[in-house]
């Protein structure tokens, strides 16, 4: 946390992008108050209206206000991505640290399992898992968790193996510290920065994958105001109402840009050595 505060004070880019991130989160949280219309209420006489002062981003075939739906969508997309990345982080790191620290059969089982998952191209397996489980936001999240945890487990295992050999850990073992204590006070805190940077760098890509699953019909389902779902609905009206396709995509794009800028600057702040390289 200390590094982050210093970074916030000294690194102009990090400060700017952190503020933008908070702005996005604020939009997501306050959507019910700032959205001019109900995102789900159909008003048939307003169907398919192009963008205007009353409806900034136009309306869809049920007369729902696209701008309001996008604002509500922010809560959906950001909320689910944050929960998902937290799940991946916890599952991957825990399994990886256990494998690296204890070795033996735990290591063998966990690593063979992750080898297996890594030998599938991620998206197609995610599509298969989410689709077969049945399209829903939760199932899409489970699918992405299944295909992504292995990367984190491998990274955490490698880091844990390295730190396990450090003198301070050996000292803790010799002085009779129990495993749980050593794991929590010595191993985990030392691998956390690298894991956090990795997770932050992945947020944007995972957000696009989650939206992609919804777009294909294997994630959130209509009438949810989720951006991928909206794109799928808008796609069918490309000829008559192109705004339904332009704005939700723009929302994903801008959000991912902000997240990626923020995670790049976060990496610079947390790992100054790498910052000079690029």
């Amino acid at each position: 946390m200390g590094t982050l505060m210093i970074g916030f004070k000294e690194n102009k880019a990090f400060r700017l992008f952190t503020i933008l991130m908070f702005l996005l989160i604020a939009i997501a949280l306050t959507a019910p108050f700032i959205a001019p219309y109900d995102p789900l209420e159909a008003v048939m006489r307003n169907a398919n209206m192009p963008p205007s002062a009353a409806h900034l981003f136009g309306t869809d075939k049920l007369g729902r206000d696209c701008f309001s739906r996008i604002l509500y969508g922010a809560a959906y997309s950001l909320g689910s991505v944050i929960i998902l990345i937290a799940m991946i982080f916890v599952v991957g790191t825990t399994l990886g640290v256990l494998a690296g620290y204890f070795g033996g059969w735990a290591d063998a089982v966990i690593m063979r399992l992750s080898d297996m998952m890594i030998s599938f191209p991620g998206m197609i397996l995610a599509i298969a898992i989410a689709g077969i489980l049945g399209g829903s936001l939760l199932n899409a999240m489970i699918a992405l968790l299944c295909v992504t945890w292995a990367k984190y487990a491998r990274l955490a295992r490698g880091l844990a193996l390295k730190i396990k050999e450090c003198d301070f850990v050996l000292a803790a073992v010799v002085s009779g510290g129990n495993h749980l204590h050593i794991l929590l006070t010595h191993i985990v805190p030392n691998i956390l920065p690298v894991m956090v940077i990795t997770a932050a760098t992945d947020v944007g890509a995972i957000m696009m994958e989650l939206a992609g699953l919804s777009f294909l019909g294997f994630g959130s389902q209509p009438p949810a105001p989720e951006w991928g779902v909206m794109l799928n609905e808008g796609r069918q009206q490309m000829q008559t109402a192109p705004w339904l396709m332009v704005f939700p995509g723009l929302a994903i794009f801008i959000t991912v840009v902000v997240i990626n800028l923020w995670s790049d600057s976060l990496r610079d702040v947390m790992d100054p050595r790498k910052a000079n390289k690029e």
Binding site: S119, P121, I124, I129, I132, G204, L216, L231
Partner: protein, 314 residues
């Protein structure tokens, strides 16, 4: 890679393929409810007679113990018999083979597109580090990496297909006009990623001692770049490219769907939507095997290109 090493890799691969086949087979178990009933109904809400369900179960061997089902499926799969596609009413193998050419063509064209842009731009940006050109290229690659590819596909379709009328928007069959937009969509997404990698790889090599040495010997910058730096920098990128190619050959599901490009990815999405379980199993198995075999080939070629590894191998 020595012969011993190769044999070991092959052994590992066969084990991994077994694991993959097991996972592909088990995917079906994830389905909530009755598999046979869903296959008959597709994704529709229709009543299915119990007699029909039982008949299908017996036909597919779904009434047998789980492990027995897997072994007999694997036995048939090795002989190329994956059963019948319920959706298409023909053998699964035929369906897979029919969608293969489209995917291969698209993988080749988008890789070519990527190489044409990523290599020169990445190399030049590295040579001209921190100039306006470098910043421009980096900006482009950053934006390219932040655009969801399905949205880019839709926008291209809207602008160049619908507004300008340059390309057909219906898709559905393999032709040059239909191929252009999906190629550009996939190509831009890949190029944005690779420009970065190429640039960083070249920069890393340019900072090595041997480059300084070559400069002090009075070798020209062009000579150093083409004869010394490039071969060293691009070698590691071969692995990365192998991974991309493997996943492209598995079908770019989302982009193929946007353009109704009749490749493996599109077929996979259809199969999942219509609960065509035998087809799903076969496609997932095929894609993972493809991915793995390409990785193995990359590893082997790596040893061939890198003289250091060649010596150790022997």
């Amino acid at each position: 890679m020595g012969r011993k090493n190769l044999v070991r890799r092959l052994g590992q691969m066969i084990l991994a393929l077994l694991g993959i086949s097991f996972i592909s087979f088990c995917l079906v178990m994830l389905a909530p409810g009755d598999v046979a009933r869903q296959m008959i109904a597709g994704n529709q809400e229709i009543m299915v007679s119990q007699a029909e369900v039982d008949a299908l179960k017996a036909e597919l061997g779904l009434d047998q113990p789980f492990f027995f089902q897997y072994i007999s499926w694997l036995g048939r799969a090795v002989q190329g018999n994956f059963g019948n596609s319920f959706m298409m009413k023909r053998p699964v193998l035929d369906v897979v083979l029919a969608s293969l050419p489209a995917t291969v063509v698209l993988a080749a064209s988008s890789s070519a597109f990527m190489l044409i842009f990523a290599l020169p731009l990445g190399i030049y940006a590295a040579v001209k580090q921190n100039t306006w050109f470098d910043y421009l290229v980096r900006g482009f690659s950053f934006i390219g990496m932040s655009v969801p590819n399905f949205w880019m596909g839709l926008m291209l379709l809207w602008i160049f297909g619908l507004q300008l009328g340059w390309f057909p928007i219906l898709g559905g069959e393999v032709s040059l006009e239909n191929m252009a937009l999906p190629t550009v969509t996939l190509g831009i997404a890949m190029a944005s990623k690779y420009i970065r990698q190429v640039r960083v790889a070249i920069l890393e090599e340019l900072n090595q001692d041997y480059v300084t040495g070559a400069r002090s010997l009075g070798m020209s910058e062009t000579y150093i770049l083409w004869r010394e730096v490039l071969p060293n920098a691009l070698l590691p990128l071969v692995t990365l490219f192998g991974l991309s190619l493997g996943s492209l050959l598995g079908g770019a599901a989302v982009v193929e769907t946007v353009f109704s490009w009749p490749g493996l990815g599109y077929t996979a999405v259809q199969a999942i939507t219509y609960r065509d379980f035998q087809l799903i199993q076969a496609i997932v198995l095929w894609i993972a095997s493809m991915y793995m075999i390409i990785n193995l080939l990359v590893d082997i070629s790596y040893a061939y290109f890198d003289p250091r590894l060649r010596k150790v191998g022997r």
